[in-house]
Amino acid sequence: MISFGLDEEQQLIQDNVRKFAEERLWPRIRETEAARELPAALVEEAHGLGLRTLSVPEQAGGQGLGLVTACLVEEQLAWGDASACYALGGAGALVSLVVELGDAGQHLDVLSRFTADDGAGRRGALAFGESSPAAAAGMRTTAEETGMGWLIEGDKAFVVNGGVADRYVVVAQVDPSRGWDGLGAFVVPGDARGVSPGSRRRSLGLDAAHIADVSFDGVRVPETARLAGGDDFGGALLRGLARHSLLTAARCVGVAQRAFELTRDYCAERTAFGKPIGHFQAVAFDVADRLIDVEGARWMVWKAAADWDTSSAPRLGDVASACAHASEAALRCGDTAVQLHGGAGFVRDFAVEKLFRDARQLSLMATSAEALGQIVAEEELGRPHDLAALLPTTDIQPVCL
């Protein structure tokens, strides 16, 4: 039966994370931004609360909670500070990929490093994008079977947690003759010989996220490092990316909500022509429309997550719709926030310029708007998913993963 109410466990988790976000993250957003990281004690605290490992399967030490709960958590964290979703550590996009592509043994081997009591400082990363396209369809980074495992060679760009990751999932070309269908995924330890990260990059928003390019020069990993993805690697890869995208969409909702709240409050206080500016229809209607954007996006994310949790074969189109809607909501709310704050929106004394930047960057942190539209259209038109058009590759709109 249709219900928009949280159950007791969800409510408890949401309340706790909200409190954490309000008390521990929000008051220090500028400090976090300047330091480009969170204090270790805070990272430890989040780890203790299990905030970064909610959806890791129980056998790997996680809580095995569904995507609905994970989305509730991500939204609240992002409402506190979107960059904290990255700076609090954890395995990041790697979790989604390992969950979808790995077998039970790999779940345990890889993910338990992050759920362990001493796992607070460990980061995971997904090395996917590349800075320039390959000559033929597929990736420039290759993985070659050596008889004793795999040899990985290539350069990856825009890697979230690049350079600080304990484990990478590297996506590489295994069979060059098969183009985008010839990819493979491999777990690579951060300290493996040949892994060399570039310097940390300065980004538009999400300042505390650690983003760097990473080179893999003749990196050798054992046979067991390959994440096979069951019978359908391409499908599993899309699911992994979709899962990560949905969590990112929940962050968009959190940013949108915060931007909406700050805007409403500002418009209620700021006076012009003798009354609060919110009492002018041109202003109030914009704020009202942003509420419609935020809530519409939230319900879309919840529904996609709930469907995923209850279905054996989640519809990627619905996930893509939710992601596109959430991204649009964040962009609009960020933009309206700056616009209605006027000059105050442009200066750093107010938080909205940061939200505006974070919103812009969040929408390129998982899947491009371009790819999301394609996923929906292909599903609606009854066409098989075309990896070439959907993967966040260098050909069109690369993203940070």
Partner: protein
């Protein structure tokens, strides 16, 4: 309860039933009804009989404000009528919104009678709908030539005279007004009192001084009856003052409240009907692209269309959820004026743009009333009013704004 978006078994059955009915019975007569400017009575009777036979599972009639046809509320389980109505109304909107608006039953007149009428009034005015072999309508008369969005400005007057009230004025754009057995008419004892002067009456067909004026010719929803009602020294028994004298003694603005509270339940419904029409247009455009576009053509040309389809779909999906959310709140008894307006605003907006885009996608084909895309042309005409009636898009935003900013004056 937990976050949940699955339909109950009964809702799924209802949805499938209404969807099949809409596709196989309603759609085929849709264009002719539009040209004839009326829905065949035998079809309405068929729907009514069907509704009566499935009253136990949330009848179709309930969605226009009839008596609770959903699962009965119990102490443990909140009622689900409003949510169930969302499911059925979307499918009927997808079939033909004019048919939906023409369905017999109390219509918009239902909510004010149910929430503000005395027990005696409820019995008297609802009992006429008991016989499923008879077509009977109720209606709602609020809008006037000089008072649309500004409800407080109504000029229709009412004056107490002994055991009755004497009403004078003109109501316009009244759905099913000419065939309604009774109409809830809003009037004022003194226009200078504003909202506090409002009174709601149930005026019965045949009352001397109560007549039908102009029958409107419209852009869309042509098969739905929209009329002007004229009250000239129309004498209404005091028993027909909705809620009785006591109600107004207790609450000065009871009349205005009766007018406004109607919208808390009907706005999400109007929003979801719009989503149904928008979905129809979207599916039409999608199928056109699927069947007519050469999908092997170079990707860049195809991407633009794909993006437009994706955007149409997700805006409708988001609007549907906003409607469901408002309905869920109504079922749980949570005040939902703000959410009802959000639902209505979003549904209308998403659907208007879906219909506009759909015409754009099929191109010139979509401009002709006699071609294979005639329905799309009709939906484009039909949808516009969804951003106008039951409160324009601007009024919805005022309702939302009033709940965001305290103390709005002269807004």
């Amino acid at each position: 309860m937990g976050i949940d978006f699955t339909l109950s078994d009964r809702q799924r059955t209802l949805r499938d039933l209404v969807r099949t009915f809409a596709a196989s019975i309603v759609r085929p007569i849709s264009l002719q009804a539009d040209r004839d400017k009326q829905v065949p009575e035998d079809l309405l009777l068929k729907i009514q009989m069907m509704g009566a036979s499935m009253a136990s599972m949330g009848g179709v009639r309930a969605e226009l404000g009839g008596d609770d046809g959903g699962e009965a509320p119990t102490d443990k389980k909140p009622k689900s009528t409003n949510r169930t109505v969302m499911i059925a109304a979307e499918e009927m909107g997808w079939g033909d919104a004019s048919v939906l608006l023409s369905l017999p039953g109390p219509g918009l007149g239902g909510p004010p009678v149910r929430s503000h009428g005395t027990a005696e009034q409820k019995k008297r005015f609802f009992s006429i709908f008991d016989d499923p072999t008879q077509l009977r309508w109720g209606s709602y008369g609020l809008t006037e030539p000089g008072a649309g969005s500004d409800v407080a400005a109504i000029q229709t007057t009412c004056r107490r005279d002994g055991d009755s009230w004497v009403l004078n004025g003109t109501k316009c754009y009244i759905t099913n007004g000419a065939r309604a057995s009774w109409v809830v008419i809003f009037a004022t004892v003194d226009p200078s009192l504003g909202r506090a002067g409002h009174r709601a009456f149930v005026v019965e067909q045949g009352t001397p001084g109560f007549s039908v004026g102009k029958i409107e010719d419209k852009l869309g929803l042509r098969a739905s009856q929209t009329v002007e009602l004229v009250l000239e020294d129309c004498r209404v028994p005091a028993d027909n003052l909705l809620g009785g004298d006591e109600r107004y003694a207790e609450r000065a603005k009871a009349g205005f409240m009766a007018a406004m509270q109607t919208f808390d339940s009907t706005r999400p419904m109007v929003g979801i009907i719009a989503v149904g029409i928008g979905r129809a247009a979207y599916e039409h455009a999608r199928d056109f692209v699927r069947d007519r576009y050469i999908l092997t053509r170079p990707v860049p040309r195809y991407r633009v269309i794909a993006d437009r389809l994706a955007q149409m779909k997700r805006r409708l999906d988001a609007a549907r959820l906003l409607c469901w959310r408002a309905a869920w709140m109504a079922d749980l008894g949570i005040p939902n004026s703000r959410e009802a307006s959000m639902a209505k605003a979003a549904g209308a907006q998403a659907a208007v743009s879906a219909c506009t885009e759909a015409i754009d996608i099929v191109g010139a084909h979509g401009l002709f009333e006699d071609g294979e895309h005639a329905l799309l042309c009709k939906w484009f005409r039909d949808i516009k009013v969804f951003d106008i009636f039951e409160g324009t898009g601007q009024i919805q935003r005022i309702v939302i704004s009033k709940r965001l900013f305290e103390g709005l004056r002269g807004f």
